[in-house]
């Protein structure tokens, strides 16, 4: 099984959204969630996506990751138009180049912390000793080096989300997508998780796209987008005096 390689390896924007639209059929009528969205996101950027519940934020993440297909328009990641790929190719692309962090952590309950971490690597082929070591060092970095053999149900919410962050980074993806990663955590734990996510992604030079309600995140972000009435609008950042 070969994964789809990005076309512009290392050069040009990482994400390009071109006239991206998504509509759902609800009974007789059509509900437009996203209307002709355009955006360009560079490598290493931390992008936050704001919006009310049901505004289409998660839909946009699903479109970018190739989980869902747009009604019109194109998503280009590192030069590869993923909307033109087959379902199988999109899955392989996602497996190789995208890391996911979910609101409800979604660790695999039947795998230990270490196995959860190694899963994306294993899916991409055999795990080398160096990769394994790198993954375990990620676990150290999120402060859970001693919990490698625990099952997820033995961890607190914050700990589970830290494992999820390590899992999302373990296979060295081009892009991290986080869907309200602090939504299910208390304020203090949420802050810790955000700091960790920010530190690790910047350290590794990864692009992070995060859907959130938390205004606290805005200050950490390079760019902020909102979705209002189906339109993707970039909010200009206030430059600190």
């Amino acid at each position: 099984m070969t994964s789809i390689q990005p076309q512009n390896n290392g050069t040009g924007p990482l994400i390009e959204l071109r006239g991206l639209s998504k509509a759902y059929q609800e009974g007789e009528r059509e509900r437009v969630v996203l209307h002709s969205a355009d955006a360009t996101i560079s490598r290493g950027e931390f992008v936050v996506l704001l919006g009310r519940s049901g505004s289409g934020k998660s839909t946009l993440l699903n479109l970018i990751s190739g989980i869902d297909l747009p009604t019109a328009g194109d998503v280009v990641i590192a030069g590869t138009s993923i909307t033109r790929l087959s379902e199988q190719q999109r899955t392989l692309f996602r497996r190789r180049h995208i890391g996911f962090i979910f609101q409800f952590f979604n660790l695999i309950p039947t795998l230990t912390v270490e196995e959860n971490l190694l899963l994306p690597l294993e899916l991409n082929g055999r795990v080398s000793a160096a990769e394994r070591q790198a993954a375990l060092s990620l676990l150290e970095q999120v402060g859970l080096g001693d919990r490698a053999q625990s099952f997820p149900d033995r961890l607190s919410g914050g700990e589970q989300q830290r494992v999820a962050i390590a899992r999302a980074l373990a296979h060295d993806p081009l892009l991290l997508l986080a869907d309200e990663p602090t939504g299910n955590l208390d304020a203090e734990t949420g802050r810790q998780v955000l700091d960790l996510l920010d530190r690790l992604t910047r350290q590794a030079g990864k692009t992070l796209m995060m859907v959130t309600h938390s205004s606290e995140v805005i200050s950490m972000a390079d760019r902020v987008y909102t979705i209002q009435d189906g339109r993707l609008v970039e909010r200009l950042m206030e430059v600190a005096p």
Partner: protein, 861 residues
């Protein structure tokens, strides 16, 4: 695929031991039932083949005669004058051994000097200290295999008592045979070897042989030899291939075996529902997990492989356990199958189960195949899970509700297709069973729609009876339709099998009772004890017949003679009917009294009887007519002692005594065409006012102790006949019970899954003040409702199944016309069975849920 994924999958299985355990149990039971029946059938068939191989040996052709066999001179003529070699004479027959109840033996009278080329097991005999010399020089001596002798506690020099027809005889064991290999050992298990003269004396056939065995080479030399032999055969004696006869006999049990096989497959079908149920649940249970895996980049194919592999693991363990269980169950089944074959078809002595590797392989493939078929839909379902973190249960349920009308439409189409299959004018049993299974699957597909409708009707009633909890439990069945519908369908199928088979057996029994009422009109029946209950061809002593028919208190007597004759349709049971002393009284006019025992399906009695008694016409039973496409007015050919003769069929009568059918002619016609003068059974009419039981006693005294003869009153014969009937269906009852057991396991598994899945919902209810008792009530009322729906649906489905069994399957298998009898008792039983099974299966989940702390239930998810 990733090793980690495999590990995750295995851990998932191990974390749900009850769910997997019940699934394994279900598939194991299903496979066990099929295997046990298959093994029993195969063992019976193998035993039959062995016994025919043993008896026929390497003979390629056989010369057989009519009722009296082949004249001994023919053998001498062929061997000495025509120089035909190899050639061997045989005198044979079945006997009972009264000291060893349940064991029958086959006497094989041989000429040891001619045997060499035919039957190898006699060759080692000469080494055995003079046994052969004794066999040839002393009358009433026999040989037995050393193993059988050991089983019976006999040694060379001991005597074995046997019963030939009505007479008891004793044979001296001249020596023991030591079979060289396993095949010879099993072949000799039920064989008693004598010389020709002893066998002729035992069967009272001096100067006659049962048959002459020949080994004729293939090719033109063989053809020339055959021509030469044929030219020497007198009328009524035939030359046939050795295999032809055994094939014809083997055909007899084919429908019986097929029926058992088809019925046993029903248990496996219920098992398929179980696997389907488990795998669907396991997919629904892991919807979030599968969504996450998909988001992480696990492909559809990998998910599909994962689910299918899990099913295969369950299937493999279940099938393995099923094979072991099947072998154990087979030991019991083989007794039931052999009993039925002995009751209905021919003497078959079977001491042990043959574990044929092919049967086990078939079982393995069937078990795994069933598992894969059942897991395919859930596996596809899993791949269609969108790769999203949150996929709500309500999405699945709303998808299912979208499916409900479509499934119902599919069900209707399947039922229509089944109806078309049933209407095809054919005698194919497979087509019949195919239609039956299509009907059952069709009804299973209709179950979700029927459940929704019934719940809509029941909800207000439940509300009025139990308030909000009542409404909730009715609603709960519909809300969790993806779980409940499968459980209801599985239970419905199992209970409808019980209803359908129950109605069929009840109708069959009632038809037989009515037939016995009309056909058993005499007062006393005399017959030799028969090894095959449905047939008696051993003769009664003529002096005994004379003594009994003229005894005081006997008003009149008529006789039957039953023999097997050759015909173009294969071996045919022929009965010669004699009405020498027709009862003459006010109500009875000439032959009318005896002949009214027959009810005709085709032909008018006033035309049939004159043709039968005066013009040599035959009457045939309904199964015989059905099997060979014959009708009143057809002509049949039978091999007589004067060569093959044609008979016109005057009428077709109802008869439930033999599924192979019989041909009847008058005694007068019989004596014109056959040399045999023996009588097989005697029917006696008592004088007016004579106590029948006292008459039976006095006739028994008159028969004396030297004759083993069955003298039974009308009532006793009727009871004995029904006992055979009930014994025949014992195996069916066992199969019904097993199918219900599998269904029970299915319902238990489904309910456990359902209730555990609702743990959170119930936790919320408990947190809001629902008492444990109320939780118990809620769960139990819901399972009760499911049982009620399954029970209600199983009634019409069971009736339809009974109609198919009675009018299609039974007719095509055995050729009998049965009158359908619908007893309300069976229908009520079905309803209670379904309710009870569901409520019983709901007890454990209900207790578990009622005991679970609401905090714990709420935390889970």
């Amino acid at each position: 695929m990733s090793r980690i994924l495999w590990r995750s999958s295995l851990r998932h299985l191990l974390r749900h031991p009850w769910q997997i355990g019940l699934s394994i149990l279900g598939i194991a039971l299903g496979v066990a039932v099929v295997i046990s029946i298959d093994l029993a059938n195969q063992s019976a068939q193998r035993a039959f083949e062995l016994s025919t191989e043993t008896i026929a040996g390497r003979a390629t052709h056989q010369i057989t005669g009519g009722s009296a066999g082949v004249p001994e001179e023919l053998y001498v003529q062929l061997r000495v004058e025509a120089g035909v070699r190899p050639i061997a004479p045989i005198v044979e027959g079945d006997v009972a051994a009264p000291a060893y109840p349940g064991r029958a033996f086959h006497i094989l009278g041989v000429d040891p000097f001619a045997e060499g080329p035919f039957r190898s097991y006699l060759t080692g005999l000469e080494a055995d200290d003079g046994g052969l010399v004794l066999l040839l020089t002393h009358p009433n001596t026999a040989l037995l295999s050393s193993e059988t002798a050991a089983q019976l506690g006999l040694r060379a020099g001991d005597s074995i008592e046997i019963r030939v027809g009505t007479a008891r005889r004793s044979l001296l064991l001249a020596g023991l045979l030591h079979p060289a290999d396993e095949i010879s050992r099993r072949a000799l298990e039920s064989l008693i070897i004598t010389d020709i003269a002893t066998a002729q004396e035992l069967f009272d056939t001096p100067g006659r042989l049962s048959r002459i065995d020949l080994i004729i080479p293939e090719g033109s030399a063989g053809d020339a030899l055959l021509e030469q032999v044929r030219a020497l055969l007198p009328a009524g004696v035939e030359l046939e291939r050795a295999a032809a006869r055994s094939q014809a006999i083997e055909q007899m049990t084919r429908a019986f075996s097929l029926n058992l096989m088809a019925l046993s497959l029903l248990a496996l079908i219920v098992g398929i529902f179980l696997i389907y149920n488990t795998m669907t649940f396991s997919v629904i249970q892991r919807r979030t997990l599968i969504g996450t895996l998909r988001a992480l980049g696990v492909t559809r194919r990998e998910i599909f492989t994962l689910v299918l592999s899990e099913a295969l693991i369950i299937g493999l363990i279940g099938t393995g356990a099923g094979l072991l269980l099947g072998i154990m169950l087979g030991r019991g089944m083989v007794r039931l199958v052999t009993q039925t074959i002995n009751d209905l078809y021919f003497v078959l002595s079977l001491q042990e189960l043959t574990i044929a590797p092919l049967v086990l392989l078939k079982g393995l493939l069937l078990g795994l195949g069933a598992t894969l078929v059942a897991a395919l839909v859930p596996a596809f379902e899993a791949t269609s899970t969108p790769p999203r973190a949150v996929l709500t249960r309500s999405t699945i349920e709303s998808r299912l509700r979208w499916l409900v009308p479509r499934a119902a439409l599919g069900g209707v189409l399947l039922a229509l297709a089944a109806t078309v299959m049933l209407l095809v004018p054919s005698k194919s049993l497979w087509l019949g069973f195919g239609a039956l299974w299509a009907l059952l699957f069709g009804f299973a597909l209709l179950t979700p729609a029927a459940t929704v409708l019934l719940m809509r009707l029941l909800r207000p009633v439940m509300g009025r009876l139990f308030g909000v909890l009542g409404r909730m439990s009715a609603r709960g069945v519909v809300v969790a339709l993806s779980r409940t519908a499968i459980a209801i369908a599985a239970l419905m199928i199992a209970v409808s099998v019980t209803v359908g088979v129950g109605i069929m057996i009840g109708s069959f029994r009632q038809t037989v009772v009515r037939w016995l009422d009309s056909s058993l009109q005499a007062d006393v029946y005399v017959s030799p004890p028969s090894l095959v209950s449905s047939r008696s061809d051993a003769p009664l002593d003529p002096a005994l017949v004379q003594r009994l028919s003229t005894a005081p208190g006997v008003k009149s007597a008529s006789t039957y003679r039953g023999i097997i004759v050759n015909s173009p349709y294969g071996p045919t049971q022929l009965i010669a009917l004699e009405l020498d002393n027709p009862r003459r009284d006010a109500e009875c006019d000439a032959a009318a009294c005896h002949t009214s025992a027959f009810t005709f399906k085709e032909g008018e009695p006033q035309e049939i009887w004159p043709a039968f008694f005066e013009a040599g016409a035959a009457i045939i039973s309904e199964p015989y007519a059905y099997r060979h496409n014959l009708h009143a007015g057809s002509r049949i050919r039978l091999g007589t002692d004067r060569g093959e003769r044609e008979f016109s069929v005057a009428g077709v009568f109802y008869d439930y005594g033999s599924d192979q059918g019989v041909v009847m002619i008058s005694r007068q016609t019989y004596e014109q065409l056959w040399d045999d003068r023996a009588i097989s059974s005697l029917v006696i009419y008592a004088e007016e006012g004579v106590d029948v039981d006292a008459l039976v006693e006095s006739l028994r005294v008159l028969a004396g102790p030297e004759h083993d003869v069955l003298i039974r009153s009308n009532k006793a014969l009727r009871e004995a006949s029904l006992e055979v009937f009930d014994r025949t269906f014992a195996i069916t009852a066992v199969l019904r019970l097993l199918a219900t057991l599998v269904a029970f396991v299915g319902v238990l598994s489904a309910l456990m899954a359902l209730q555990l899945e609702r743990a959170r919902e119930l936790g919320v209810l408990r947190a809001n003040g629902l008492t444990p008792r109320q939780v118990w009530g809620l769960v139990t009322s819901q399972t009760g409702l499911m049982g009620l729906v399954a029970g209600l649906l199983s009634i019409p489905v069971g009736i339809v199944m009974a109609l198919v069994l009675i009018y299609i399957i039974n007719k095509r298998s055995f050729g009998w016309t049965l009158q359908m009898e619908l007893s309300p008792g069976i229908l009520l039983q079905a309803l209670l069975l379904a309710l009870l099974a569901a409520i019983l299966a709901g007890i454990y989940p209900a207790i578990k849920m009622a005991r679970t702390s609401p905090a714990l239930a709420l935390r889970e998810e």
